[in-house]
């Protein structure tokens, strides 16, 4: 079935199977492989992208549900060769190790700060409840988000 949407500011139209998950559409059809897949139960958040500016888990959205919507992936965050302040904050604070959860973490974090620009540490931790990381122990991720909120 026909699907028209905007991905990282560019309009696209594709013919897709109804069961195609948004994450597979982004990775396999739109060829944007920055969004990762870490589970099959909406638990890990690795696949987090923005749908109309809000974080969603793209493994739990059918591509056809995104028809007419605006999707932003990790590839759409940096602009003009400059990393987004959240990406920069992650780097400055060593908030990533293997980097597999990172695109989802960054997308979740930017959406979170939009809704809560001046969070406490506890609020940041609650705000990340849907994203799993196995490397960092979260300590530096939380620090990075608090730093991004400051700047």
């Amino acid at each position: 079935m026909e699907l028209s949407l905007t991905v990282n500011g560019k309009a696209r139209t594709d013919d897709v199977e109804p069961r195609l998950l948004l994450v597979h559409y982004l990775r396999d059809v739109a060829r944007l492989t920055g969004t990762n897949i870490g589970c099959d139960t909406s638990s890990c958040g690795a696949c987090t992208v923005h749908m109309d500016g809000e974080a969603v888990k793209s493994c739990t959205v059918l591509a056809v549900q995104a028809d007419g919507h605006e999707i932003t992936t990790i590839e759409g965050l940096a602009s003009d060769g400059t990393m987004h302040p959240m990406q920069e904050a992650f780097r400055q604070n060593h908030a990533l190790q293997c980097g597999y959860c990172t695109p989802g973490m960054v997308m979740a974090a930017t959406s979170f700060l939009k809704e809560n620009p001046h969070p406490t540490e506890a609020e940041v931790r609650e705000g990340l409840e849907g994203n799993l990381c196995r490397c960092t122990g979260y300590h530096n991720i939380v620090k990075a988000i608090l730093a991004a909120a400051q700047s």
Binding site: H94, L96, C98, Y100, R134, H139
Partner: protein
């Protein structure tokens, strides 16, 4: 050995440099195996056993072949002739160890839920999965062996040809009589019985492999989410019969491993032989609910530890008996995992008599293998729990019992009763720093107040002082343990014509930041900017020699190899510079990347200029070969022994049994630190994984061997919301056994954390008379313990 300050800031070594790896990972540019798009690839999906133990009666592949896009389906019998050898186990720990034949696709019977029985090949991933759903397998169920005691009894023998479920018994008992005597004479004896539950490693990136065949024009390129491209290459050659010269293995960006990607897996072999057979690229990407069963699990041990102590609580002997769960088959290093712990049950304590014995058995469960720490967290847990029990028995504070038993700073190098030589340490220093940082005295007062007030929320404070054996490993020691490979690591350092530096390493990072740290090691010695150093790794065509990354070995072996190779490059450069400056080599000094003639500083030559001269070869000393390049194959003379003390503070809601981690202080000593930022990150992540074992995670099976925690909904990998910020501190006690003075830190946090947490939980509950609780300390377990204590 004294505690010293970290190297000064002006050196590149020791600086908190931001990681070179980050930009590509932060922007989505990095290529993980699932991101590798190969034109014309076929996708495979596996049909996996739904029973733990059964004979395969029939496999009907017909319905799958009718699924659109499915091009072929193979059963174990169809592929049996493809294998030159079974899936490898590289660690036959005893001469008479029993090892079942383990084929990538089961033939005849299945031995765990998840055991692969057929493979479906299709034009797309979705079609391959539809095909796998359509295969009909008829089984004749056999009684499953799930419980370790049941396995030992041989009531049901899983691998009939072996005649028993026991794989091996391994003993380390230097002086059994001394142990018996010490127990006979002891004033205090404590016995701990601990269960190391099975854990699912759950690296965030599932496994995956892509194989690109060029059978006529070249080689098989195997791109795999692996920690061990070099070992994998050898094993692929041995099991497929393809010449090692025709296999190239690439580890692309790899999303964490923790031991789970330190293995040779059925899917890697299947992808290779199917690429050979079908002459098309093959692609396989694991799903999470598949990986929880088909990727190795960690731990799986039942431990009995006994301590004998004198009237003051000084330990006079330790006796350990293990029962270890191998799972259904032996994977790459499955049998060796308990041995990695065997040497550490005396922990950081000065213990004169010791005996250890481990019996390992097969069960109808997913194979176990190395998981972060591999044997060492289990050992540390046992001794650190047991010494808390001894503190109770003797009636002293857990900190005090440790002080009485520590190996003293002046005893290093220390010959341990288990036969190791500990390189350096200052355990009491780490304890005092951790107590200080955590506010131990104040915490004890708060605990007292809450106890007096009968507060429904009780406070628990737990300590652990760990020591681990890492930097795996001196090859001769591995030989004595019957491991079939060595433990060296390789590095090549070369200067390019423009003066930039290329480091080639045999380590294979998957999150550890070797590109940054190895750059720092080389740049520090060469006097160049770390930005001018590139680090190549993870491709057997680029770094032909290597033994890969696991067991906190990369820095202490591979990083040291980089340093040695760098020094060799400098030595050659010195000869060229001396020649060009017309000075004697011994008259040159090399500082800040420039050779200078002593006493005539105007006569100098920067390294970049030397590199260019070496490249043009216009004016080299007679007989000298062009270019500046050197290699090292460093075989460490000893293990390294990092250590630390962790203090965990928990609050227990005694009404619900809920345990909340309130604070955590980790003081770690990994010797000299190349990059403290990365060290802290390793500690944070390690601690959280250790806490996860203590409070959250368990691979739970029902009595039929079905995995009940097959998704991340049921297997509780904790999130940020479950943790407070962590407090870290370090002491620096360099290792005298390598020229960098480094030790390794990848597993430290995990090793220290689980006992600290459970000691804290037991400490909180001790007024109830509760002194032990199984991991994970779930709310129900805690509540039940309180109820039973009240009865």
């Amino acid at each position: 050995m004294t505690t010293t300050e970290a190297p000064p800031e002006e050196r590149v070594f020791g600086q908190r440099l931001l990681r070179k790896e980050d930009p590509e990972l932060l922007t989505g540019e990095a290529r993980f195996v699932a991101d590798v798009d190969v034109h014309g690839a076929l996708y495979i999906a596996l049909v996996r056993s739904t029973l733990a133990h059964a004979r395969i009666v029939s496999i009907d592949v017909g319905p799958a072949l009718e699924v659109p896009g499915v091009t072929a389906v193979f059963t174990g019998a169809d592929l049996e002739q493809e294998w030159a050898g079974p899936l490898p186990c590289a660690w036959p720990v005893t001469e008479d160890m029993k090892a079942p034949t383990h084929l990538p696709l089961a033939v005849g019977k299945v031995c765990y839920t998840g055991d692969a029985v057929a493979v479906v090949v299709a034009e797309s991933e979705y079609q391959a999965r539809d095909g796998a759903e359509a295969v009909v397998v008829e089984y004749e169920p056999l009684p499953p062996v799930v419980d370790l005691g049941d396995a030992v009894s041989d009531r049901v023998v899983i691998h009939e040809d072996l005649g028993t479920n026991k794989s091996y018994t391994w003993e380390l008992s230097p002086d059994a009589e001394a142990v018996d005597r010490a127990f006979a004479e002891a004033t205090h004896r404590v016995h701990g019985h601990y269960i190391q539950q099975r854990l699912i490693p759950a690296a965030m990136e599932p496994r995956g492999v892509v194989v690109i065949p060029q059978p006529f024009g070249g080689e098989y390129t195997v791109i795999s989410a692996t920690q061990i491209p070099h070992i994998l290459k050898v094993m692929l050659a041995l099991t497929s019969g393809i010449s090692e010269t025709s296999i190239r293995v690439i580890a692309p960006a790899v999303g964490g491993g923790f031991g789970s990607k330190l293995d040779v897996y059925a899917e890697e072999l299947l992808s290779l032989v199917l690429a050979r057979r079908l002459k098309r690229p093959i692609r396989w990407i694991e799903t999470r609910s598949e990986g929880t069963q088909a990727t190795i699990q960690g731990r799986g041990q039942i431990q009995d530890i006994e301590l004998a102590a004198d009237a003051d609580g000084r330990i006079t002997a330790i006796r350990v008996k293990l029962l270890a769960d191998m799972g259904a088959y032996l994977q790459l290093v499955t049998p060796g995992v308990p041995l990695l712990g065997a040497f550490l049950y005396a922990g950081v304590y000065d213990v004169p008599a010791y005996s250890f014995s481990c019996t390992s058995v097969f069960t109808n469960l997913t194979p176990t293998d190395a998981y972060r720490g591999a044997g060492r967290p289990e050992a540390t847990y046992a001794i650190e729990r047991a010494i808390d029990q001894l503190a109770l028995e003797v009636g002293v504070d857990p900190a005090e019992i440790r002080r009485r038993n520590y190996i003293k700073p002046d005893q290093f190098p220390y010959n341990s009763v288990a036969g190791l030589v500990y390189d350096s340490g200052n355990y009491v220093g780490s304890l005092e720093k951790a107590l200080d940082l955590s506010g131990y005295g104040e915490l004890r007062k708060e605990q007292e107040r809450r106890r007096e007030q009968n507060d429904p929320v009780q406070l628990g404070i737990g300590l652990s002082t760990y020591m681990e054996m890492c930097g795996l490993a001196p090859s001769r020691v591995l030989a004595s343990l019957r491991y079939v490979a060595g433990g060296w690591e390789a590095a090549t350092v070369r200067l390019l014509p423009t003066g930039k530096v290329q480091v080639v390493t045999g380590t294979s990072p998957h999150g550890q930041g070797h590109e940054t740290s190895w750059s720092q090691i080389a740049a520090d010695r060469l006097g160049v900017s770390p930005d001018d150093v590139e680090v190549l790794h993870g491709d057997t065509a680029v770094s032909p020699y290597g033994l890969d990354s696991y067991g906190s070995r990369s820095l202490a072996v591979g990083g040291v190899a980089v340093a040695i190779a760098t020094d060799r490059v400098i030595e050659k450069a010195r000869q060229i510079a001396a020649h060009q400056l017309e000075a004697a080599e011994e008259d040159l000094e090399f500082t800040a990347g420039t050779f200078r003639v002593k006493g005539s500083p105007e006569k100098s030559m920067p390294l970049g200029a030397v590199a260019f001269e070496a490249f043009t070869a216009h004016n080299l000393p007679d007989g000298m070969e062009p270019n500046l390049e050197a290699s090292s194959h460093f075989d460490p003379p000893n293990f390294t022994f990092p250590f630390g003390t962790h203090v965990c503070v928990v609050e227990i809601d005694t009404e619900t049994g809920g345990v909340r981690l309130r604070g955590y202080t980790a003081v770690d000593d990994c010797g000299n630190q190349v990059n403290p930022l990365i060290v802290e990150g390793q500690v944070h992540g390690g601690v959280v994984q250790g806490v996860a074992q203590a409070l959250f995670e368990e691979a739970s099976y029902d009595s039929q061997g079905n995995l009940l925690t097959s998704t991340l909904v049921d297997y509780l990998v904790p999130a940020a919301s479950e943790f407070p910020s962590l407090t870290t501190g370090t002491t620096v006690t360099p290792s005298p056994t390598n020229l960098l003075g480094v030790k390794g830190v990848g597993e430290a946090g995990t090793i220290g954390a689980a006992p600290a947490v459970i000691n804290a939980v037991c400490d909180a509950l001790s007024p109830y008379g509760i002194h032990d609780i199984d991991m994970p300390a779930t709310p129900e377990r805690v509540w039940t313990a309180i109820q039973e204590a009240a009865r």
